[in-house]
């Protein structure tokens, strides 16, 4: 299989690698010589309590998180925080089907879960940086899944959390949408059980994949009002091929499939024998559950289910006609509102929750936690 040059330092860097060695996954398989790719911005303070962790969403890398969410004078400002943007396993920068050699490469890459990412990220932060406190974990969509997992799995470490447009447990509707995404790739005649000649051979499937995202990723108002003009595309077809298809076409289909499966299985209640209320009841962070009013992937009514089960939380609704992919930063109104919410969250005084964790955790003890 030809090398895919899309996932390069030129396109997505600079990024560093942290080696986990042989990393055992929750489902039992092992990724040999597993690397996690990350980028940092700003400086860690002496107390090591000014870290903001940002995991990535489906198909995204640390680069877009940096470009869209970080900036001088913004809520997430490298002048004030030590910001670690960490690439999820399978995204092409961290260990992925496209960059793994030997028996785990390509279609043979093991099944990964959100919990695997969070355990790997925990090792990066604690072993490499010596960090035991996170001022904030935030992320969108699959980044929100990782944020939820962080807050549930390591409740004493996460002081604030802002999952944006993503669920603590993937919904049935998420499941079906992801099924169509996966079939767009595996149904391509060039798929060949994942052993395609090169990723570009699956170009028809990748274009269909992009079209599925165009349909679900935006609101109908986005198209009715031709909001794609705001980002430089003059016609629907320009936007469809020049933005959406052009975005997905260079990606590796096995990478996308690895992330899609992970998304589909995302469920913090894996830690509490399927009891979502118990899982979310463990959270000790102050949580802003941020959702987007016109989101068709994770609408506010869905996100509210998680928020209501989370002790010290508020539902914050962003108004954006862009829909789910407002996450990409293509609507300035979205960015302004998200910055306001994140700024508010970061300046909120934290309650002392060290006194009686059992009460906050609903009586759940560490030994009740499955697989932690």
């Amino acid at each position: 299989m030809a090398q895919n040059n899309y996932y390069s330092q030129e396109n997505h860097g600079p990024y560093q690698l942290f080696s986990l060695g042989d990393f055992q996954l929750e489902d039992g398989e092992t990724i040999g010589n597993c690397n996690i790719a990350y980028s940092t911005f700003g400086a860690l303070n002496a107390n090591k309590d000014n870290t903001i962790l940002i995991p990535t969403w489906y198909s995204g890398t640390s680069k877009i998180m940096e470009q869209v969410y970080l900036g001088k004078g913004r809520a997430i400002d490298p002048a004030n925080y030590f910001i670690v943007i960490v690439n999820q396993i399978g995204n092409g920068l961290s260990a992925s089907p496209s960059n793994t050699s030997g028996p785990w490469k390509g279609a043979k890459f093991p099944r990964v879960k959100i919990g695997d990412d969070v355990r790997a990220q925990h090792r990066l932060l604690t072993e490499h940086f010596g960090i035991e406190t996170l001022a904030l974990v935030m992320g969108g969509s699959m980044g929100a899944q990782q944020t939820w997992e962080w807050a549930v799995r390591y409740p004493d470490m996460v002081k604030r959390a802002a999952p944006i447009a993503g669920r603590a447990r993937a919904t049935s509707h998420n499941f079906l949408f992801i099924e169509t995404l996966m079939y767009s790739l595996t149904g391509d005649p060039a798929w060949n059980d994942g052993n395609y000649v090169e990723s570009g051979a699956v170009h028809r499937g990748l274009c269909h994949h992009a079209d599925l995202w165009s349909v679900m990723g935006y609101s109908t108002k986005f198209f009715e009002r031709e909001m794609y003009r705001n980002i430089g595309f003059s016609t629907l077809e320009d936007f469809r091929s020049g933005f959406m298809q052009n975005y997905f076409l260079p990606m590796d289909p096995n990478n996308l499939l690895c992330m899609a499966r992970k998304w589909q299985q995302g469920d913090v209640s894996n830690l509490t024998n399927g009891d979502l209320a118990s899982a979310l009841g463990r959270i000790r962070a102050k949580v802003f559950v941020i959702c987007i009013d016109e989101d068709r992937v994770c609408p506010p009514s869905d996100c509210e289910v998680d928020q209501k089960l989370t002790p010290d939380s508020e539902l914050k609704v962003v108004q954006s006609q862009a829909g789910h992919l407002a996450l990409f930063g293509l609507d300035p109104a979205y960015l302004e509102q998200v910055d306001d919410y994140l700024g508010e969250l970061l300046t909120l005084p934290l309650q002392d929750k060290t006194g009686n964790p059992e009460l906050i955790k609903g009586g759940l003890t560490e030994s009740d936690l499955v697989g932690a």
Copy 2:
């Protein structure tokens, strides 16, 4: 190609056929010996002014319209009205790729437009039944497209119109969704440019097609609250395969493609050189633009665009967590509200609009009408 027995009198009848002879289409091609399939209920009165016309939606036939929308004591009651349910071209009962022989069969079936259906239906009503007045035209989704076309093309004939969850002009978002539906079929390795051995050979594409409808056809609340249990499916997978895939699997892919292309091109402003306001300004019917609050295919904000351009119209919003496919009648709350709206519309006294049609039509004369 093997005969497809799905589109039979046993499954979808009883229905009758009306022959148009060789029927020339708007795009210039001709369907030889073109038949329109229809079912009637109730009796035409002496004044011939008690007719309700109901065209069909994408993939639907007259049978489901009868089963879901007609009934004793309901708004559309055969005791009070002469009801004509007419099958759209390409749906497998009227002239379609699956039932046409000779040079027009299968993949060679000509491109059909909404206007062709409405012209064919007009001939059925006027030539066969001698009907010059329609008490109501109503339909959902593509049936709404035909309803809009009827009201614009034959404004003196249509006294009331109720387009439900469908646009007078297909939107950009409709276009993209339909692109994904079409590719689900044409991207199947068994498609063979539409010359598949039998329709079942495209079963993977048909299942993907069904999944796309599952994702877009319902609201996320429908799944979050497991509303499929109300219609007898105990799990998501039951519903997905037992209801949605089972529904589409026996259909002919060329038939679906014929309807999909027609949907995508649906646009009443074809009659007025692309000016939607002029087209809708021609309407002299009393119009209830009915939409469904959780509809993801044609949400209320989209339907309102048409309503605001239609002179004597009201926007009527149905509350249903089923979403677009509430049209199927699987939510009793939807049926009750739609019946109320239709009942109200049917009993509203009609204004005399024969006095000064130019004012109502915004000064547009018959000679301004393109292709009428």
